[in-house]
Subunit: 195 residues, 2 copies
DNA sequence: TCGCTAATGTTTACAGTGGTAACATGGCGC
DNA sequence: GCGCCATGTTACCACTGTAAACATTAGCGA
């Protein structure tokens, strides 16, 4: 028998059969792991092991690994949105808009794996016509855009403008994360790329 | 014993022990598989199986899975570059430049998995100062940029302009692939986003 | 033409992974 | 006080990447 099957090392501190709030613990541990290793090396078993629970216990809270990942993505997205909002609050008008973009990139650089996870596991958030639903970072952008382009602009023009803005910040984030562009240099240019 | 070990079904057509050009066959098969399934479901064993060779034979040509992936990425990058060049040849000046950007996005949409693979496995292609080495799509862009900004622009200005352009096309590609934005709608706007 | 060697494939084996099924525990409502 | 059922655990399974040992043969020098 392999040394490493489902009977992982249990926590010794508490011998309580039930955990208390395993779901939250799993998410929190997974987020912690994502700070140090990338998505493809994040295994359910490791998360369970670190939390001190058997590997299959996870399935009581998430039907499949992907559902855990979705939960992580939601968490990450909320963080991103919060940071954007916070950044926007420190300025006004166009500048405030630029700040949300910069915050977007900064978030990506600060949480590379989480950032990737967000976009790797959140398809179909958008319906035709609407850029994105309530609460999403893009929603924030869209509000600014409307302000920017003027209230009389056509829906398509708003969309176009938002798409352009989002593309820039997202593309810049990705290119830096994927090391397509020298990180140090690009980091220094963020504020000028996103004007 | 599992039904499925390394002794995969061999090809019956040829009973030659040696394959001939296994390396090329592996790459070609892997590329074919990438047209139908995404990167995380691409397994060495499946590639080997389809080529009609044992799983470990792969290791005679690639030290590890990642090296196969790198080879695929190179292949994909060459394709991308070729398509950009071709697109550029059909126009002149600014428009030609826009065409390379549009070709970039079109390539991403036409080869989603390969496109992702390219950027997931080609870090460290760039040195500080130089945007990218010879032959890369970005190199092509940089030439245009120089033309666009004027030959007297500072290195930093060229870099900035190139970074912005690349970010837009890359970001747009990613957002559409990751379904963050309605595909149909966004596709129709490509030419206007990249002006 | 023979035979040796290096290149190329194959077999076997192993640790790790996501996931299912059957069983164990114990907290909470009656 | 007791029983149910949500939550955990143990056994498995198929599959993956990869290492080690063995097999085959292409091709080169004698």
């Amino acid at each position: 028998m392999a040394r490493n099957d489902n009977s992982v090392n249990m926590k010794k501190t508490k011998d309580s059969y039930h955990h208390g709030d395993l779901r939250a613990a799993l998410i929190s541990e997974a987020l912690k792991l994502l700070e140090k290793q990338d998505l493809e090396h994040l295994s359910l078993r490791e998360v369970a092991r670190n939390v001190g629970v058997s590997a299959t216990a996870v399935y009581r809270h998430f039907p499949a690994k992907d559902d855990l990942l979705k939960a992580l993505a939601d968490h990450g997205l909320a963080m991103l949105g919060a940071q954007q909002k916070e950044a926007a609050a420190k300025a006004r008008g166009r500048l405030a808009f630029a700040q949300t973009g910069r915050a977007y990139v900064r978030f990506a650089l600060a949480n590379p794996n989480l950032f990737r996870l967000i976009f790797a596991h959140m398809p179909a958030r958008t319906k035709p016509g609407a850029m994105s639903p309530e609460g999403l970072p893009a929603r924030l952008m869209q509000d600014f855009i409307t302000m920017d382009v003027g209230p009389k602009a056509s829906t398509e023009q708003v969309f176009l403008s938002a798409l352009r803005a989002w593309s820039i910040v997202h593309g810049l984030s990705m290119l830096i994360l994927d090391e397509q562009v020298d990180r140090k240099v690009a980091e220094g240019l963020i504020d000028r790329v996103i004007a």
